[in-house]
């Protein structure tokens, strides 16, 4: 029977990667006997294989726990900057959040950003230090840090070890005591918030929802506000933690709905579900936003013939990834492929990895770029591909996306961070000492600079101690130019890049130097040039090859020599031709790898 609304608590856990969120969830599942000992496995809720390998929870999930007469809905939140919007929707499904911080490492930017989101969403924060069993733990110091942040008494901060289970019962009790029960009327028009959706091969689109107002019966005709789609829902249920059908979901409850839809784009995160017809609500819940790609990259099959397979794979992936967008693209150098938009770099890595692993594709990806707004007269063009940028500055101005970045760092690395952000065209907004040793700094930075190995640089300049989070902050004019790379006079569209004018030379030099190493010597000298419009800004030469023959070839060498030639022949067949120059696949892949140059320095 439905739990009385006063005995429901909806909460999530806000934590940095590796701070023990999944382990804490495991202990809660055990302690509340939601999962029996026999079926328990580590990181129980992190279902997707990919998540397990990366140690990141991508898809939010809700699990219902019963504890001392209370229904506790634990809503899992994604833990990465790419998914800020998804996080905000998960938070909107909760009344409370456990702020979980590693007692050895302290607060990280990610956690702080999500904490701000949670607080701004009006959630009750239940702070807890995890890993207090670790020798390196400094619970007193971290409690002070947290108390200052929350403007609360250090005694209010719970201390747990998710690993041993110590302090977890007290934490559950604090959730019950401190977090407000949800509110809502059972007979009001239905408003259910979608905070996650997934595609199941057998059951179609499954949404994870929080009923804000009204009641959702199991088999009802539903309507989506944003997409105006209606459908016969097949089943409502709760995750306990396996899917368990229920007759209805009442106000304040969290569960899943098998929507009867076949396309995940029809049930978008943040949208509101209501009942179709006259019992439906007239207004959606606030806060819906279309998913918006931030980072773009060209994806091309390594074998030209795999284009249709890549298209099919993307079409399939799109069914379960509502944020994925793509359009066909033709590259002179790389052939037929797609320009794909991603929420961020992690999302890009995940999609690429899934395409390669789940669909067995071998891909060449161009360096990621952001979206540019190009203005000429009163005409605005949106450019997702540097090769489409008008060359030679044939426009009035260009705007690029900027972000509001939060960096948390030990104070000793402040200098290094100023230097890095300065070099990346950042403008400092403010900074605040969290403790005498730890500082929170805010910068406005061009997203393009973050996309270009910023995170790696930040980690290496601060020995991994600084953490970063950012959110979109609009567009801003910048002196941007398109730099082209030419091989033997032929531009290679895949290597074109839009960079700040002051960095064009550096980029050109870096690309030409890198390509000089990667392009095999040909029978003639090959000029490797970088240009802005018709102006050459950097040049290297791949000297003509002079010798490739084996000195000796006697009776015992002939078979081996023939096989070597056959291998070389196959290698040549796999090369791409740019004008007269043969460029091996590997050279493209290596030259387009963003981090390569940084690592070499």
């Amino acid at each position: 029977m439905a739990t009385d609304i006063s005995h429901i608590r909806n909460f999530c856990i806000v934590a940095h990667i590796d701070h023990g969120k999944s382990t804490l969830a495991d202990r809660m599942l055990e302690l509340t006997h939601t999962v029996d000992e026999r079926t328990m496995r580590a990181q129980y809720l992190d279902r997707m294989e990919l998540e397990r390998e990366r140690g990141i929870t991508i898809k939010a999930q809700a699990v219902r726990l019963f504890h001392e007469g209370y229904e506790l809905n634990l809503i899992d939140t994604p833990g990465h900057v790419d998914f800020t919007y998804e996080v905000s929707r998960s938070l909107a499904a909760c009344e409370g959040a456990i702020l979980l911080v590693d007692a050895a490492q302290g607060l990280e930017a990610q956690t702080l950003a999500n904490f701000h989101l949670a607080r701004d969403a009006g959630l009750t924060i239940v702070p807890a230090l995890n890993k207090i069993d670790l020798p390196a733990a400094e619970p007193a110091k971290r409690a002070d840090e947290l108390a200052r942040l929350l403007d609360t008494d250090p005694d209010r901060i719970l201390q747990v070890s998710a690993k041993t289970g110590e302090g977890v019962p007290e934490l559950l009790k604090a959730v019950i005591d401190r977090v407000d029960p949800p509110t809502g009327e059972a007979d009001a028009p239905l408003q259910a918030l979608i905070f996650d959706s997934a595609f199941d091969t057998y059951r179609g689109v499954i949404t994870y929802i929080r009923v804000k107002q009204g009641t959702l019966p199991s088999n009802s005709r539903i309507k989506m506000f944003a997409t105006h789609v209606t459908s016969e829902a097949e089943e409502a249920g709760v995750m306990a933690p396996e899917a368990t059908p229920v007759d209805a979901l009442g106000p304040g409850e969290v569960g899943y709905l098998v929507t009867g839809l076949k396309d995940v784009h029809q049930a978008k995160v943040g949208d509101t579900i209501t009942l179709d017809g006259k019992h439906g609500a007239s207004e959606p819940l606030p806060g819906y936003r279309e998913p918006r790609p931030m980072v773009w990259s060209g994806l091309f099959p390594a074998e030209g013939g795999d284009y249709s397979e890549l298209r099919e794979a993307l079409d399939k992936l799109k069914l379960s990834d509502s944020a994925l967008v793509y359009e066909p693209e033709t590259s002179q150098a790389l052939g037929f492929g797609f320009r794909v938009g991603f929420l961020g770099l992690l999302h890009m890595d995940i999609v690429r990895e899934r395409l390669e692993r789940e669909f067995g594709l071998e891909l060449i990806a161009t360096a990621p770029n952001v979206e540019f707004h190009v203005f000429k007269g009163d005409h605005e063009t949106i450019v997702h591909n540097p090769a489409e940028m008008p060359p030679g500055g044939d426009y009035d101005r260009v705007e690029e996306p900027i972000v509001y970045a939060t960096i948390i760092t030990p104070a000793e690395y402040l200098g290094a961070i100023f230097e890095l952000c300065q070099a990346r065209r950042g403008e400092m907004v403010d900074m605040e000492y969290l403790t005498p040793e730890r500082v929170e700094v805010h910068y406005v930075l061009p997203l393009a600079e973050i996309v270009f190995d910023f995170f790696d640089q930040l980690k290496s300049k601060t020995r991994g101690f600084a953490s970063l989070d950012y959110e979109p902050y609009g567009f801003q004019e910048a002196k941007l130019v398109r730099v082209d790379v030419l091989l033997h006079g032929e531009p290679v569209d895949a290597f074109s890049s839009v960079v700040h004018r002051d960095k064009a030379y550096q980029y050109g030099k870096q690309m030409t130097e890198r390509l000089k190493e990667l392009i095999p010597r040909q029978l003639f000298d090959v000029a490797v040039q970088a240009s802005i419009g018709s102006k050459i800004i950097a040049r290297e030469t791949v000297k003509a090859k002079r010798k490739d023959v084996l000195a000796k070839c006697y009776g015992g060498d002939i078979t081996r020599k023939r096989k070597l030639l056959e291998t070389q022949k196959k290698g040549k067949e796999r090369m791409r031709r740019v004008g007269r120059v043969d460029v091996p696949q590997e050279a493209f892949i290596a030259a387009l790898r963003v981090d390569e140059g940084a690592k070499r320095k």
Binding site: L523, V549, A551, G556, L565
Partner: protein, 367 residues
């Protein structure tokens, strides 16, 4: 009928050189007597398959054949003459290491029937010899050549290797001059190739020694072409020069795709588009012959496409070249225009620059 060749592999050496990845062993002298027995047995077992085939050459390679006593080599040669139809004027070559020969031993070998000696000089620069991990001194080469001439050899070849660490173009020029001063009849000059499973290969992989610079080796090759050509030597194969009439009959057989029988551990044989080879470890080789088996370790039948590829890359190594009618015009014309091939009345022959880029030529012609 096309004359064939006999190759005999002697896998014994005094020491192992840094660049050598041949089937050769130092410090296994105790195997010699039974290995020589095995060679005889193999000749007995293999020869019936070559009935009716005439042989124009014998080549004793290794390893270092001159680590075996002349009396034993004489017996081996006698056995070969019994078993195979060897021409009276056959070219019979022995490879020699400068430190393993004396005038007496060389006389004995000449008397046993060897008509040609190939001495591994490698370099006349002590630093280069050290880089190659050779144990002899330049003086030993001069001594060995002197001894061979006094013993009466009329056909003498010197082997050189260029491009080792520390060798400069000047040093190579001196080595070429010293070589010419000894007036050999034939010169083989090889660009040093680093093989992974060698002492030098490991040093290069570990970064202890730089890999040879291919551009410097190309310069050295061009210098050899010029210097040896001016001295009257004919450049008849990528790495081989000879005074007219002293081209190595045996080795030409490989490039002209004539048949050959290989005896000894790891030796290859070839006839009519079939190639087969003996097991490599001397112990296994001897065991199999002890059981009365031919010690064959593997074989391949060449498909027409394989045979075609071999024909092209082997004949382009020598002046014989290949007919241009084998290829579409646009395949070879760009190479003729860029000076890598000459088209002499329908025969394509690489220029000296083209020889250095033979792989590109072969791939470009046959792609």
């Amino acid at each position: 009928m096309t004359a064939a060749g006999i190759y005999v592999h002697i896998p014994f050496c005094l020491t192992r050189c840094g660049y050598c990845d041949f089937n050769a062993y130092a410090g296994r002298d105790e195997l010699k007597p039974s290995y020589l027995d095995s060679l005889s047995k193999e000749a007995d077992l293999a020869s019936p398959g070559w009935d009716g085939q005439g042989f124009a050459s014998v080549f004793l390679g290794g390893g270092t054949p001159t680590t075996v006593e002349p009396v034993d080599l004489r017996a081996l040669l006698t056995r070969l003459r019994h078993r195979f139809d060897l021409d009276d004027d056959a070219e019979i070559t022995i490879e020699a290491n400068p430190d393993t020969v004396t005038e007496v031993s060389l006389s004995a070998l000449l008397d046993a029937g060897f008509t040609r000696i190939s001495i591994g000089a490698q370099s006349f620069d002590t630093k280069v010899l050290a880089a190659l991990e050779r144990i002899h001194e330049p003086a030993s080469v001069r001594a060995a050549v002197g001894a061979a001439r006094r013993a009466g050899y009329r056909n003498l070849s010197l082997d050189l290797i260029y491009g080792a660490t520390g060798e400069t173009l000047d040093s190579w020029r001196r080595t070429l001059d010293e070589t010419l001063a000894l007036a050999p009849d034939h010169i083989s000059a090889y660009a040093l190739t680093i093989e992974p499973a060698t002492s030098l290969g490991r040093k290069v992989a570990a970064g202890e020694t730089p890999a040879p610079d291919p551009d410097l080796q190309a310069d050295m090759f061009m210098l050899a072409c010029e210097t040896l050509g001016d001295a009257g030597y004919r450049h008849y194969e990528i790495s081989n020069w000879a005074r007219p009439g002293f081209e190595c009959v045996h080795n030409l057989g490989y490039w002209e795709r004539r048949p050959y029988v290989g005896l000894g551990a790891g030796a290859h044989s070839y006839r009519d588009d079939v190639r087969w080879w003996n097991v490599r470890p001397p112990e296994t080789y001897m065991e199999m012959l002890g059981r009365g088996q031919l010690p064959i370790g593997g074989s391949e039948s060449l498909e027409p496409s394989d045979a075609y590829l071999e024909e092209v890359f082997l004949k382009l190594r020598i002046l014989e070249g290949v007919p241009s009618s084998w290829f579409e015009t646009d395949r070879y014309e760009r190479f003729v225009q860029s000076g890598l091939l000459t088209d002499d009345l329908g025969t394509l022959v690489p220029t000296e620059r083209g020889m250095l880029l033979l792989n590109e030529l072969v791939l470009g012609l046959t792609a």
